[in-house]
Symmetry: C2
Amino acid sequence: MDKKDLFGLCPFVTSQKILSGKWSIYLLYLLKDGPVRFNELMRMMPEEITHTTLSRQLKSLEEEGLIVRKEYSQIPPKVEYFLSEIGNKFDKVLLAMGEWGEEYIEFLKEKA
Amino acid sequence: MDKKDLFGLCPFVTSQKILSGKWSIYLLYLLKDGPVRFNELMRMMPEEITHTTLSRQLKSLEEEGLIVRKEYSQIPPKVEYFLSEIGNKFDKVLLAMGEWGEEYIEFLKEKA
DNA sequence: CATATAGGTATCCTCCTTGATACTAGGTAT
DNA sequence: ATACCTAGTATCAAGGAGGATACCTATATG
């Protein structure tokens, strides 16, 4: 029996692929409290990131159905990003991940 | 004020980096029920993966402190991998991620 | 006229991860 | 004598993600 690509079949393989982008988790975290504009996201990013990269990351999260892009027809442009329904449900993972991350940071300090 | 690398400071940035390997999440999932040998892991992987790649993934998880490598001095060699204490605490994230992953798979089916 | 604004795309380059292959150890089975 | 077993490492090639830069829109402002 051949081994198959389990994307869309195994929840862990599927999650792994969704989260593979360098900023996916942090973007979901930034969007969890409501709509944010493109340049606001830029300023909220923890490290330097080009708008090219941010644009690509947002586009792929949108294509995967986790976030929604809403464009206002005005000059200068205004675009808001916010979580979709399935994106919103990711909050439990974020919560657990935030708690684990803090414990891991403690672990790193003790090790040092 | 310059933006900095928040690894070791922000729980989400830190988690993202830990989980960046292509198989990290699935490996933590496979190891959650106890020690597993190298070749057993090979056979449990959902897709084809070379032993070179598996070896590297395990090594980096070990260096990050999430798993422990135990080598038995015997011929042929026997090596077991299992979760460290901080690796074990990741189970809550896995649980939430598993549930979300299943909902996301449902979402994909409805969309199709 | 030049410039700033917000939110992008197009293109190229580079680096990192992964994959493929060959090689290793020492003992046991055929 | 040869092959097989486990659990790797060393080396090289390929692919993809990310970064840098230039360019685009249409309007308002100096």
